[in-house]
Subunit: 342 residues, 2 copies
DNA sequence: CTGAAAGCGCTTACAG
DNA sequence: CTGAAAGCGCTTACAG
């Protein structure tokens, strides 16, 4: 059966399509009587406006795009949930793409979304991404772009982040406070801003507390799907190279959990011989043994805020108002658990 | 700056819009010379067809909808990844909605997707869903619908599933094989087909092996965000009520992990005093201690297969061919780990 | 208060 | 080989 159109309603009521359209949109210049008739028939026929036609006319799709490095990931899936929840409230749909931490894919996906004419894009960058032209292109084409978590400072757009440096400082300071003297750091890969910032926070905490920074105590792990194994691997290296380390601040919980498993295997006691702080507060961190101290990173809220900001910008663009780029910094929190409980 | 349209190319080359359109779509009735000119100019101007117009004309959106009970979930996020990966290969985008295990929300979301005129819908049902009219409506409106994992047997459409009964049978049989005599079952809520099937598989395995089925050994847990706590709670009950139980087959890994944590707290040795098998092979199950034996459920593959089938049906509908509903049953696998290693 | 008309940007059956 | 024309279903500025 054919879907009901404005024409069909107009024909049945012997009025014009124009009037039907206006009646349904509650324009003030339609008589109450006509409005009532139109509405009644529309609901009887179960009329639904053809979105394709509406999109073409209004030049908006009520759909936004989301590009994310990995989907199967506690933090990111929480962000997705937050974005979708908030978008739904405003009648927006969310198209999701996974960049797989690849710059090339990310570029293609931006293109794809632009061609699809989504009303805006939310993105967390791939580790690989060093060039940002595909992002500035979005902005200069007049579509709003909001970055979260893995951002590029240099790109002029709204961002939703945490203060990675401060959070890392706090985590490291916590290790110092409980008496650690020689503190290692398992960091993320070299490019992403937040992995840099966490490293800087670590180093500053050492410095401010009179502990010498020793580069040989910093281990890099390429945090992808193999995070857990990276944690184990770095732990084995650490055990060979630096027996004297008594605390580690680790870039991500999953890596930290790998480290814990390896220390347990080696018979090293946590936290007595080595204290550990992770980052992100992955659900699992609270249920493993020993439970992992970590920094709580508000994924769900980050998603909500990212959409809220994007929505504001979509409205501004519609009204031809200038966009006011915002940098939204969400609070983190140190959660102390067994891995640092002395 | 205004996006480039067919008209612009036509004007610049002094030919008709019709010819430009045909040239770009490589129609055979355009001269090679014209084609070349058009293509060259199109690429110079960076012409992108206006998707809104194309959608309206062709009456398809190259977008599908996905409704899923929960996003932050190891199994489901793997399915999402599989669907998106496969969709991208065919040039389709995926709009994702979360039903939150609520039938009411699920209904609204189906409506929303239908109004948006997605080309098809993939769904895993909410626990709540008992009435299926919203689903049969999709099918009778001529849009393809594919269900996966949490399905309704009664709805006539394609389905991608595992053989839950067989997998549960295998899990229970494994407990019997390692010597368990009194086997409990932590099942999921009463409605979902797969929770019923897993229960039936459990019961049949007992029956086939001469073990009396005792209903008081079956505990129900409402598996939502609180799965872990449900596992702990049921374990406490079990410890009070049935000290003699020596094996449990548990509906979901997360519940099983909750159970393990509670048994450890109570000083009950796993697997010596009680052996445990979970279901789904959540990533965490391999890294906890003791590691959890479980049934591997292929989420990523399930997502891929679901999209493949949906795509086939979209093609059939386009060609006005009859749709051939398929029931695709993917293989599961028992993974033995420490929790059943005797 | 109502409606004829233009137009969003494309596709395609048809005529020449 | 090329193009005029109709049409997808809606919205809205304008005339009456």
């Amino acid at each position: 059966m054919k879907p009901v159109t404005l024409r069909e309603i107009a024909d049945q009521l012997n009025i014009s399509i124009t009037t039907v359209s206006k009646a349904l949109k509650d324009y003030p210049d339609v008589s109450p009587k006509t409005k009532a008739q139109v509405r009644e028939l529309a609901s009887t026929l179960n009329y639904k406006p053809n979105t394709f036609a509406v999109n073409l006319r209004t030049n908006e799709s009520k759909t936004i795009g989301l590009i994310i490095p990995v989907i199967v990931h506690h933090f990111f899936s929480n962000v997705i949930k937050g974005i979708i929840a908030q978008a739904e409230k405003k009648g927006y749909l969310v198209v999701i793409l996974q960049s797989n931490e690849s710059y090339e894919l990310e570029k293609k996906q931006i293109d794809l979304l632009m061609n699809q004419r989504v009303d805006g894009i939310i993105i967390s960058l791939a580790n690989d991404t060093v060039d940002f032209k595909h992002l500035t292109d979005v902005i200069s084409s007049g579509k709003p772009l909001v970055m979260f978590d893995k951002i590029a400072k240099i790109v002029n757009c709204s961002k939703v982040i945490i203060d990675d440096r401060k959070a890392a400082y706090e985590a490291t300071k916590h290790l110092i406070d409980i008496g650690c003297k020689r503190i290692a750091h398992f960091r993320g890969s070299l490019l992403p801003q937040n992995s840099i910032d966490r490293f800087l926070g670590y180093r500053k905490a050492l410095f401010d507390n009179g502990i010498a920074y020793d580069p040989s105590l910093v281990y890099i792990c390429e945090c992808d799907e193999k995070s857990f194994e990276e944690g184990q691997k770095n732990t084995r290296l650490l055990l060979e190279q630096h027996k004297d380390v008594d605390g580690i601040f680790i870039n991500t919980d999953l890596v930290a959990i790998g480290a814990i498993s390896e220390f347990k295997k080696a018979g090293v006691k946590i936290p007595e011989e080595i204290a550990i702080v992770g980052f992100s507060n992955w659900f699992v961190s609270s249920i493993i043994s020993p439970s992992l101290s970590t920094i709580k990173q508000p994924g769900f809220k980050m998603g909500k805020e990212a959409f809220k900001q994007l929505y504001k910008e979509i409205q501004s663009i519609k009204k031809n108002e200038p966009i006011d780029f915002k940098q939204i910094v969400l609070k983190t929190k140190l959660i102390q658990r067994e891995s640092t409980k002395i």
